[in-house]
């Protein structure tokens, strides 16, 4: 089943879906395994697995450090793909790869798409690849039936949103605010206007990410967005309280 359909099916049973984020190899694949288990068992609907990169330009301090530590621990792209395949086999929710474009470019775009498709990965989030730069990438996504997740930002004009929608599949990732991952966002009038513009620009489901920390944030998104994304928050949680803390945290969000 395609990603969008999978999400729409899930939305029939819930007001809002939950996507979480992990950095592969941080602090280890074993911990990744445990964290994902806790996430899925506690009702997460979709997981983006970040393949670490040495230059994570769009990430804030928490995820940046996780990238660096994962690499320092020897994490390889190949290991990440293998791990991704294992997760797909194990759990019934959609998994995505999130990474920077160089990882895919260097692996070989088609080879990467092939491996990902074979593994059952549903789509890619690549924050430094706007569609203008991704012609071959988008063509391959079509060919391999994988969803290229495009991104809206508060600075995107409505016209630009329209253009992006034409290339997006699965859902649109709406960045809640200017800046990098990890800092709290305000869900105020401006934000509502922005999300209104997003909704007007596309029929795809809308995910909202950057700075979502707790149940309250998620409640605020209900009726406005289709999916809430939790990123740095769980990484910090694992750092402070260990993988076992993730299950109760996720359960508490509903």
């Amino acid at each position: 089943m395609l990603l969008e359909q999978q999400l729409r099916n899930a939305l029939e049973k819930k007001d809002i879906l939950l996507m979480t984020h992990i950095v592969l190899g941080y602090p280890s694949f074993d911990v990744n395994r445990e964290v994902i288990k806790q996430m899925v068992e506690n009702g997460v609907d979709c997981i983006e697995m970040q393949i670490p990169f040495s230059e994570p330009m769009a990430d804030g301090p928490v995820i940046l450090k996780a990238n660096q530590d994962a690499l320092a621990a020897g994490t390889k792209v190949e290991d990440c793909i293998t791990f991704g395949a294992e997760m797909v086999k194990e759990y019934d929710i959609p998994f995505l790869f999130m990474t920077y474009y160089n990882i895919i470019f260097k692996y070989g775009e088609e080879a990467f798409f092939k491996r990902a498709a074979d593994s059952g990965i549903k789509g890619f989030i690549v924050p430094d690849l706007p569609p203008e730069m991704g012609e071959s990438f988008l063509a391959l996504a079509d060919k391999y039936n994988l969803a290229p997740i495009l991104i809206y930002a508060p600075t995107s004009t409505s016209e630009r949103m329209g253009e992006l929608a034409a290339h997006g599949r699965g859902f649109i990732y709406c960045v809640a605010r200017r800046g990098v991952t990890g800092k709290k966002s305000e869900f105020d009038k401006d934000f509502d206007n922005y999300l209104g513009r997003c909704r007007a620009a596309t029929d795809l489901p809308l995910a909202v990410g950057f700075g979502i920390q707790d149940k309250e944030d998620i409640e605020a998104l209900k009726g406005k967005a289709d999916m809430a994304v939790i990123g740095s928050r769980t990484i910090k949680l694992v750092e402070q309280d260990g993988a076992k803390a993730v299950g109760p945290f996720i359960a508490g969000l509903k």
Binding site: E55, Q68, I103, F105, P127, I151, A153, R178, G179
Partner: protein
Amino acid sequence: MDRNGFSGKWGGAYIPEVLYQTFQELKEEYARCRKSPDFWQEYLELMSTYSCRPTPLTYAENLSKHFGGAKIYIKREDLNHTGAHKANNVMGQGLLVKRMGKKRVIAETGAGQHGMATATMAAKFGLECTIYMGEEDVMRQRPNVFWMEKLGATVVPVKDGSRTLKDAINEAFRDWVTNVDDTHYVFGTACGPAPFPEMVAWFQSIIGMEAADQILKYHGKMPKKVYACVGGGSNAMGIFKRFLEETDVELVGVEAGGHGADSGAHAIRLSSPDATPGVAQGYKTMFLQDEDGQMKHTHSVAAGLDYVGVSPILSDLWEKKQVRFESATDDEVIQALDLTMKKEGIIPALESAHAFAGAFREAGQLSPDDAIIINQSGRGDKDIFTIAHAYADPSWKEFIIGRGKEYSKN
């Protein structure tokens, strides 16, 4: 550069969506400036009243005789205000910022040279200014940090990654995506997302335009070869651009050979097989990266050349064989510096000394009827801490030890 910012297959603008709109505005403003003869006129006026343009072309008579070959001319970017070619780019972008109405600038810096230039421009234009600098570079280049702060800038030490130039660039981007509305990122070299490579090269092209006029005046004809060091590639593009029109002029870019091409401790992107095509920091070029696409550590005695990427325009010219690339090791560079000081009374920056080293190897093969030009991108006296250290000068060490003890006391 094509519509999407590519030179051949290199370049582009691999940027987060949040920056899309600001890049649109930047591209538009830049296009307006390129079309307006008034803008270039304003730029020339600024550079000739605030900096020292045209910078001289100096005939290096003693070095020429020493090598017994071509007449060696030196293009003196060291005489710019703030001591390097970096001023050309920064003042140009400053004019652009004024037109765009932004109130704040940010920049990355490695050697500190671009940071100094940006802090200077910000003071002159009344802009707020934040400079990102790898923590390791902050330690190596404390004098520059001191001046940037005195010029009113905030210097932020970057503690991530290798704590050098590329990490400062990432951090500057993080600031930019956060403060995009009122902030312009003054990129320091002919790298980064389009339109930066082309725009920086344009501002720097003033070097080659002047040099071409000057060499015709002094030498009566075009030079045989033009040498420039290559970090990000801005001083090289600056002097090469005009001479690309002259098919008989060979252009030579000299990269940082560090401890040698085989040592793994260098910053050779184009003249060794260590680099491969990649996309990072917003653009596609030849990067020093591992097989997974993770960027490697680089090394050079010259902080300004110690960088994993290179101008996409140069990657294109390299591929099309319009520019030849060589490298010079740290040791060769110190020797070239030494000879230049003793023979000509000129102190090139360690970065620039790479161009000298490259030229010295080949000058003897040409005839005294021929001329070559070396682009002296900056002055070396800013590098006292590095150079005195490299020479292991005992009185310098003694001096620093004495000062250190004095400061420890109170």
